[in-house]
């Protein structure tokens, strides 16, 4: 039986790791802060997967991000997904050389479908994670691009139908409304994912505590939940959330 996944997302901006609320960023700490408070590079840190995204809004330094990624993942023997502003195959290759196993793309789904094709033919479609950001406007879910700043006019249903035709391996779906609020996941959003029901689905946005994680993992449409809440799971918070999930009947791997 395939287990579900509890994923931690790290948002990186120009040397710092960020807290995001409705896609507005707040600086929390650097790599040392992250090591002191989480220790992902300690062997045995209990995480099913790590997603690291370079969300730098200006002057993105991808070489620097790759260097940080390499340090962060040196002794982290868990799956790593990385991305943020991937525009070329070479950039993708650099991320994979720095410790990433999979690539997350968002704006390229809208602006560079050719790049998505090329990433899949070069690294396999299982390597391409499609990140989709959605926000509810006038009672319907719309898809946004460029860090949530541009309304694409696509409905969530329409856009996921388009994604289903692309060579991708997973969907990583974020609610912009719930992002960073700690109010729990947006389950209504999941009424619009039927077009990608044959792809693994990661859901994000709104997780503030372990109960929210359990509720998300218990939903049969959801394969994985992700949280980028840098402050609420400090120390052994993620390990405790795993234990609570397992005791609540959720199938998670035992490490």
């Amino acid at each position: 039986m395939l287990t579900k996944r509890l994923i931690f997302t790290l948002l990186y901006d120009n040397g710092s790791f960020m807290l995001s609320r409705n896609f507005r960023l707040q600086k929390i700490g650097d790599l040392n802060w992250l090591e002191d408070n989480y220790g992902f590079s300690n062997v045995g840190y209990q995480i099913d997967e790590l997603i690291a995204i370079d969300v730098s809004r200006q002057n993105r330094d991808s070489a620097k991000f790759c260097e940080i990624l390499g340090k962060l993942t040196r002794n982290c023997f868990a799956p790593i997904t990385a991305g943020g502003g991937i525009k070329t195959l070479e950039h993708a290759r650099e991320l994979l050389r720095s410790g990433a196993d999979k690539l997350v793309v968002n704006s390229a789904l809208h602006d560079q479908p050719d790049l998505v094709e090329n990433l899949a033919s070069e690294f396999g479609r299982q390597c391409v994670v499609a990140s989709v950001d959605t926000q509810k406007i006038d009672n319907s879910y719309r898809v946004f691009k460029h860090n949530g700043s541009v309304d694409t006019a696509y409905s969530l249903d329409q856009f996921l139908l388009r994604c289903a035709g692309l060579p991708i391996g997973e969907i990583y779906l974020t609610s912009i409304d719930r992002d960073g609020t700690g109010n729990g996941l947006d389950f209504e959003m999941l009424d619009h994912v039927s077009h990608v029901k044959d792809l693994p689905l990661i859901v994000k946005g709104g997780i503030g505590n372990a109960d929210h994680i359990v509720a998300g993992l218990a939903d049969n449409r959801v394969d994985a939940v992700a949280t980028a809440n840098l402050l609420n799971f400090i120390g052994d918070g993620l390990a405790r959330a795993r234990e609570l999930s397992i005791s609540g009947g959720i199938k998670l791997p035992k490490f």
Binding site: F123, G124, Q126
Partner: protein
């Protein structure tokens, strides 16, 4: 090559970095190379791989890496571990992107994952899954029976009724999670991405 060295075959596909850091963590020295003379004289080889079977075999043949691997296995002390696509490449053939012959070190075929009537599945198979390990397995020695390993793949190797030692997983249908056949070993999952239990599988292989 020195005793402590583990050769990681570099044919331009796959996450060599993670495999190398796991080898380093286990106290060995990873040597990442595509140099044929180094490959053919190595006693411990790892063949990683992510991506398309056809593309990988094209590259391996074009660079004569297949011959270098066969040469290394002439030495009875040599052992080889294929990981993920690297394990599939050990097989007879794959249907990915049209039928393609593999290295043929084992005779198993690789086919696309498929759902069964009782088990609807999403493809690719992504995440941690349990495996059924036989008692005589070297790779899974001292590994707890409920251990899970990280898989990410859309194609899988079929089980044969032969003398190989098979560890299996069921996702849709039952397939090869790991194979042990004389000098040749393979894991469909990523031991370098499967936390402590994965590191133990690598350690067992290196022992």
């Amino acid at each position: 090559m020195a005793n402590n060295e583990v050769l990681i075959v570099d044919y331009g596909m796959g996450n060599l970095w993670s495999v190398a850091s796991a080898i380093k963590f286990l106290g060995k020295t990873p040597v990442v190379t595509s140099d044929l003379s180094v490959i053919s004289t190595s006693e411990t080889l790892i063949l990683p791989g992510v991506g398309s079977f056809r593309r990988a075999m094209d590259t391996i043949r074009k660079q004569s890496i297949d011959k270098a691997i066969f040469d290394s296995l002439e030495n009875p002390n040599t052992k080889l571990l294929g990981i993920c696509l690297g394990m599939q490449l050990l097989g007879a053939s794959s249907t990915e992107d049209g039928p393609t012959a593999g290295l043929g070190l084992v005779q198993n075929e690789v086919v696309r994952l498929s759902k069964s009537e009782t088990s609807p599945i999403k493809i690719p198979h992504v995440g941690f899954n349990k495996v059924q390990m036989p008692n005589d397995s070297k790779l899974f020695e001292q590994i707890p029976i409920d251990a899970s390993f990280y898989f990410v793949h859309s194609y899988a190797m079929q089980i044969l009724n032969d003398i190989s030692i098979y560890t299996t997983t069921t996702y849709g249908h039952q397939f090869v999670a790991a194979i042990e056949s004389g000098q040749v070993f393979g894991t469909q999952f990523h031991p370098e991405k499967s936390q402590k239990n994965g590191l133990k599988v690598l350690e067992n292989f290196l022992r």
